[in-house]
């Protein structure tokens, strides 16, 4: 074992050195940010430390991307605070409705995005809560509160970026290469198992797609990480899209009879594992192409060869793109990894945020408590954050645990550990235990524990609220803590009763949207996306479906089977439309129109007839025309096959959720 390996395998109190380095970076950045904010005599200096807590992400790219969105969203949020306060200066009711409407809109927009972009959208919403709602009794202070918050956030971000750079925080780039390489190995293993004739459970397919599409936030974070980020993000997106296309090709092979082209399966497997030389690989591709050109003579053999060829091409594309990513080179193919987000879910989340804020404002104002405005602001913040996680109820449960713990730790640190001292070094030492432990817990892969730590870290700083000098006002601490805990309890109740989105409802929406898009595609609707971009988007929808709890009594995961069925068929239909469009420039328009008509009518015999007509006409065309016509003919046969073979058919009455 080398020294580096032995250091990596060493643990201190159960945590590896990388986790301790991360926790120490967070603590040092927090202290540097606080010191700079105190030195600049900023009013809201504690926001600098809170910013570090919020940006506590393990890689530089993710942290920088989040920082950029935090600045942009804060600027937007502060401007909207002025607008809302200016529009409704004399009416608290209208002010609250305006705030709730803005928060709902931001939550809706956040629902259409992912990763740090979704965070930026919801932050623009709850910045109004922190800047304007908490100053509802003194609107003339909103401008100063906004400027103070903005300044403290910039100081916190600068401190965090400086510490991350100086202490060599890990890069997204390195981690993403590892994740894509592992995903590529798994996709190859999946394809090899199919070539051996083994059957795969839909959940395995879906999880593989989910593993790849879940890399999207990391891919977008690359842009912020380094000067080569744009090129690296393009290479990573190209690799991810190629991997999804490789799974599609493998799943197409799985749907063909197991005895098809047995003689070629071994060579295809060797081609995938790179154990063939360059010459043998070219010979294999030529053989496959010859079988594919056979078309009607042996339809299954031709389809197998066509998809086998696709498998080899996509495997090579993925490999090349990963190598481009490693070398920070521009990829040979420029393609976007487009994500899927449910509009229905986003609208419901936005409406929930709007209603929850209004209900909470009514309840807290009826209570007549001091700090009621802070309570509304806290509910707004929490409801916005809960909308950007896959499981809002789980988030509320984590908040129910994290917020009281953070309040307790804040109180213990302020009144037992610091207990009246005002020297900065003692504040730094007093912060250390809670900050370091919370940052260590953030590194644990358990999502529940990580959610609790993610909330406890900034909330601890919020309750401690370091100022220069520290004011040690137990009354403020108690009221603020009481209001925050009440808000979290309210949030937890509101999330359960106001427009809750169950997994069953999400499943229904995902399947409905897949069918609607499939219907549009058959009817001739074309999107501006490339075929593989649409394929990645469909894979993202399946990944989200796989993350949901299965329906009661659905051990076979019929929902995933339906989604995968539509995934394969949509890919086949898109491909037919693309190749028919290529043929239309070279061959008789009537033949092409026959193909389109059969597709729109979901008529497999009609598709086969169009394929046969195209294949017979191909002989009259030039070399390139023959190639395109044969390819279109094969795609038509494949479309007829998948429309025939679909377990659920295209009749909507047969579909279940």
């Amino acid at each position: 074992m080398t020294l580096a390996q032995s250091v990596r395998s060493t643990t201190v109190a159960g945590f590896p050195p990388s986790a301790w380095a991360f926790a120490l970076r967070i603590w040092v950045a927090m202290i540097v940010g606080l010191y700079a904010a105190f030195w600049l005599q900023l009013e809201g200096a504690s926001a600098a430390a809170t910013t570090v807590g919020v940006l506590a992400m393990q890689t530089r790219g993710q942290a920088y991307q989040k920082a950029i969105y935090r600045i942009l969203a804060t600027i937007i949020g502060v401007i909207v605070s002025f607008v809302i306060a200016g529009l409704f200066p004399q009416s608290r009711e209208l002010f609250m409705i305006g705030f709730a409407g803005w928060l709902g809109l931001c939550v809706y927009v956040g629902g259409l995005l992912d990763g740090n972009r979704a965070y930026g959208a919801v932050l623009a919403g709850y910045t109004v809560a922190l800047v304007a709602v908490s100053q509802i009794d003194s609107p003339q202070s909103i401008f100063l509160a906004g400027v103070d918050r903005g300044a403290a956030i910039v100081v916190g971000i600068t401190a965090f970026a400086l510490i991350n750079d100086l202490f060599a925080a890990p890069n997204v780039h390195t981690g993403l290469i590892g994740k894509l390489t592992k995903a590529h190995q798994r996709v190859r293993a999946f394809a090899l198992a199919i070539l051996r004739g083994e059957s795969r459970h839909p959940i395995q397919w879906a999880n593989l797609l989910r593993e790849i599409t879940a890399l999207h936030p990391d891919i977008t974070a690359l842009v912020a990480e380094s000067s080569a980020g744009v090129v690296e993000a393009a290479a990573a997106a190209s690799a991810a899209v190629a991997l999804v296309a490789e799974i599609r090709a493998a799943s197409a092979l799985a749907s063909l009879p197991a005895e098809t082209l047995l003689c070629l399966r071994g060579a295809l497997g060797q081609g995938l594992t790179d154990s063939l030389g360059e010459e043998s690989r070219s010979a294999l591709q030529l053989r496959l192409q010859r079988h594919a050109d056979g078309g009607y003579a042996d339809p299954y053999g031709a389809l197998f060869a066509g998809h086998g060829l696709d498998l080899l091409i996509e495997n090579e594309r993925a490999q090349n793109a990963i190598e481009d990513l490693q070398a920070s080179r521009r990829p040979r193919r420029r393609i976007h990894a487009t994500i899927y987000r449910s509009h229905r879910a986003a609208v419901r989340d936005g409406l929930r945020a709007f209603l929850a804020v209004l209900i909470c404002a009514i309840l807290l104002s009826l209570g007549g408590w001091p700090f009621a405005a802070e309570g509304v602001a806290q509910v707004g913040l929490m409801i916005a954050l809960s909308a950007k996680v896959p499981n809002p109820r789980g988030f509320a449960t984590a908040a129910l645990i994290a917020v009281p713990i953070a309040a307790l730790l804040g109180g213990v640190t302020e009144y037992l550990i610091l207990d009246g001292v005002d020297q900065f070094p003692l504040l730094a030492i007093g912060l250390a235990p809670s900050v370091i432990v919370a940052a260590l817990l953030l590194t644990i892969p358990d999502p529940r524990l990580a959610s609790i730590a993610f909330l406890a870290l900034p909330y601890f700083v919020l309750y401690l609220s370091p100022t220069n000098p520290q004011d040690y006002n137990p009354e403020t601490y108690l009221f603020f803590s009481f209001m925050a805990i009440t808000s979290v309890i309210l949030l937890s109740v509101l999330l359960r009763i106001v427009l809750p989105t169950s997994d069953a409802l999400r499943r229904h929406w995902y399947l409905i949207s897949a069918r609607e898009e499939m219907g549009d595609l058959l009817a001739g609707g074309r999107s501006r996306r490339l075929d593989d971009e649409s394929l990645f988007r469909d894979a993202d929808r399946i990944g989200q479906l796989a993350a949901l709890q299965p329906a009661v009594g659905d051990e076979r995961r019929d929902d995933l089977r339906q989604a995968l069925d539509i995934f394969g068929r949509a890919a086949a239909v898109r491909r037919v439309r693309t190749t028919l469009a290529q043929v239309s420039a070279r061959a008789c328009q009537r033949l092409v129109q026959d193909g389109y008509s059969a597709l729109a009518a979901c008529d497999p015999p009609g598709l086969r007839r169009a394929a046969a007509d195209l294949a017979s006409t191909a002989t009259q065309l030039d070399h390139e025309g023959q190639r395109v016509a044969r390819s279109a003919s094969l795609d038509l046969i494949w479309a007829a096959f998948v429309l025939d073979a679909g377990a659920f058919g295209l009749n909507p009455n047969k579909w279940t959720t």
């Binding site: 530089r60 750079d165 100086l166 380094s226 000067s227 080569a228 090129v231």
Partner: protein
């Protein structure tokens, strides 16, 4: 000697350093895509620190020149 540029937003005087820092960030953001073309990443063992130093250099130049 030259005076500091002053910026006032809504009656609030913004520190000259903020303007310098913002302008330096904008220039840095414009120049950053060219770093990759110039193989900036491969010229240094720690590109993040080199980029940070470059930013400080732009900031210092702005402060000296304007």
């Amino acid at each position: 000697m030259h005076g500091f540029p002053e910026l006032t937003i809504g009656g609030v005087l913004v520190a000259p350093f903020v303007i310098y820092a913002g302008a330096a960030m904008a220039i840095f953001a414009v120049l950053r895509p060219f770093f990759h073309v110039a193989a900036f990443d491969r010229a240094f063992s720690s590109p993040p620190i080199a980029e940070l130093s470059f930013y400080v250099l732009i900031l210092a130049l702005l402060m000296v020149l304007f």
